[in-house]
Symmetry: C2
Subunit: 434 residues, 2 copies
């Protein structure tokens, strides 16, 4: 007998909108950690974030309908934190610490809404900007990225038959499960989901997280996605991002202050957080410059997250620096999260085994790897390198140099100035795929 | 195209068990309030709870398989409170109060498991008893009842076709929605779901709660079911039950101490709770006796929950008593929760409108009214009057007199003694249907 749930079916085909973002917790944990610091230390800074599509061959406005994009962005703006979400943030322990978020910060979150956006289109590309207090504009990063990425997936699957879609997901599941089987052979692997921003879609990310939980057991330590962490009683994982040095760099009123910015960020961070959250993200203005000028106390931090160098090369550089500083790398932590996939995870794991503690943040290649899965033509399901970066702070341009010039952002004059201040040592062009 | 989710289908037909109780929060809120009091004041009392089927025409062992019953009870014993559930209990506010449950109590809950059970069968009936510390045995009441009631529903629906089941639920939904429409015409109605213990099934209770939320808006104030309250961000509703006077009555070492028990319970309660939780349940040993001997301060409590008299008669009796004590009933609260359905709610509402604040707890007739809904014969879906009562405390028999001798429990000799102590005034036989 063929059974149809008529009420559900009728409700479904009358949907005004199938929301992509249904909760303000559907974001990366590091946004909340950073938000608390920004709220406490920099409540008056005004910033602009902007969507940047680094995949120049893909023109987003060709596949994504502007009306749908506005509808999804507007829906995200209608959200506020649910009572039970705030209770969980207040009561859960994060990184072994209770009350990670202070009661006054939680009370402030209760009234939080995403600020307005500016959307225009030109030459087949969208310009999407978020301007407002840093405390507000920053929270657009992840929802803006997930909305665009999922709208792009939906467009690629539109008008496809149910059978084709069934085969698509069957292949994607089989593909992911093979990766899980390979990773399960690394006995001391420590890995987490970092795939929110570039995911194929929310439901697919949830499937991936459940697959890791089932297949990797204790090797899978949690998700950067706060909503999924809450719903599945997983650890929420994350520390901080480039926006901290980028904003503080833009606010620096001299070259000397700019040169000190990377360490100023760490001091701010340390005022609020400790333990395994003391992880350095060294590459905003070049890792070599960062290490060269770093005060000795930076070597006391728990670990580093190299983010724009090949993982083995980047890790070796930091291990050498720890040794130079007289620290034992075996007590230290390296977090690898830049475009990792199973091959790179295996190589990196084997290379550093016994030398240093390691943790892997698995992103785009976990939650958006549909390559060779579609039984229909087109590249609409290939992941793109989309970011949402801070471009201005208090009206001054923000810059990221990165170890890979392909990942640099900012205007040409400012980049030149930053290169004068920090130098160009160790920066190397490499293709950016995800 | 007919679409089948093969993995789900295959998983489904290989289920070892479809659990009825999946969370220790799937219980009534008053159990948690009472548990905290028991844990704090009576940690060393040993009790026995027992399932009592007051519907003598129904023999449970005829329809419920013993193996299935044991499997469900064993599954409930495997549960512990999830981390996010404890976080919610600790962080949510209840009745407008934060930290209703103290941190040491929450910490104790983290290790809580349901104790063992004793199950035997004779003459087509099960004997199901729970013996252990009061702090543990008490928590069996609701899961034991929901398991038996849902197993009975499942047995009645076994081997029915999908079409028949579809019609069954269509009728039940239509029936409930008519009730909702009638209730929505009472402008100042205050109503909550009290239907956990006798529900048709968990999923059906959830549907009912969602229907009340949708159809009654602000008139619907919440659910006694803690899990549903958490999941739907509703208020958790409930105060206390007969087990408190029944256990303390059994422990009383003289007739004088027994006579003082109903007020001793209130003093214990008041040591922990306040405000709208100061609700008297007066009928354990007869409402007339309770009111006759009550100290004046009892009239300062927020309200009463008459539980075994016709609602108008029971309410009038309490209002008269408030007036005799010089209190204004319009500032007082009456909670009606004994076998209410729409007719009785409408009559009671209209009768007391303007005289007293009212709140309705809607139980069995909300979550288990399938009368005239099944397109197949049999009375297996009719609700039965099943309770789980404390029968012994520290080896001494526990007694409930009630205002309706049909609802009395305890052995004959002890009932006679209680009647000597409290008298028989105002008690009146009435049929018990749910």
């Amino acid at each position: 007998m063929v059974f149809t749930d008529i009420a559900t079916r009728t409700y479904n085909h009358n949907w005004r909108l199938d929301p992509i973002v249904r909760s303000l917790l559907d974001t990366d944990f590091y946004k909340l950690l950073m938000l608390q610091m920004i709220w406490r230390l920099y409540p008056d800074v005004e910033v602009t974030f902007q969507i940047i599509n680094r995949s120049r061959s893909v023109r987003l406005a060709d596949s994504i309908d502007e009306g749908e994009l506005r509808a999804q962005l507007n829906h995200a703006r209608s959200l506020c934190f649910a009572k039970k979400e705030l209770i969980w943030l207040a009561g859960n322990s994060f990184y072994g610490k209770t009350q990670m978020f202070s009661p006054d910060f939680i009370a402030w979150l209760a009234d939080f809404r995403l600020p307005d956006y500016e959307l225009s289109r030109a030459d087949g590309e969208y310009q999407l900007r978020f301007t407002g207090p840093w405390t507000h504009a920053t929270m657009w990063e992840i929802p803006a990225l997930t909305i665009i990425n999922e709208l792009r997936s939906r467009a690629a699957m539109k008008d496809r038959g149910r059978f084709a879609l069934d085969v698509l997901y069957a292949r994607a599941k089989a593909k992911l499960w093979e990766k899980v089987e390979r990773l399960s052979r690394l006995p001391d692997l420590v890995i987490s989901d970092f795939g929110t921003r570039r995911r194929h879609g929310f439901l697919w990310q949830r499937w991936c997280v459940e697959a890791l939980k089932e297949g990797l057991g204790h090797r899978f330590i949690g998700s950067s996605n706060v909503l999924l962490a809450m719903d599945a009683d997983l650890e929420a994982i994350g520390t901080n991002a480039h926006e901290l040095p980028m904003v503080l760099g833009a606010l620096a009123d001299s070259d000397e202050a700019l040169a000190a910015t990377p360490y100023r960020v760490l001091q701010d961070w340390r005022a609020l957080y400790g333990g395994n959250l003391l992880v350095v993200l060294p590459d905003a203005f070049g890792t070599a410059a960062f290490l060269r000028d770093a005060p000795d106390w930076v070597a006391d931090w728990t670990g580093f997250r190299p983010d724009s160098m090949p993982p083995i090369e980047g890790g070796e550089q930091i291990i050498r620096w720890w040794r130079d500083k007289g620290r034992d790398p075996r007590t230290k932590l390296l977090i690898f999260s830049d475009g990792m996939d199973v091959d790179a995870i295996e190589q990196t794991y084997r290379h550093f085994e016994g030398q240093v503690r390691m943790s892997f943040g698995w992103g785009t290649n976990l939650t958006n790897d549909f390559r060779q899965c579609a039984p229909f033509p087109g590249d609409g399901l290939d992941p793109i390198s989309l970011v949402c970066k801070v471009v201005e702070a208090n009206g001054r341009p923000a810059v990221k140099l990165s170890d890979n010039p392909e990942k640099a952002t900012g205007n040409v004059a400012e980049i030149a100035r930053y290169l004068r201040v920090f130098g160009d040592t160790g920066r190397k062009q490499a293709p950016v795929t995800v």
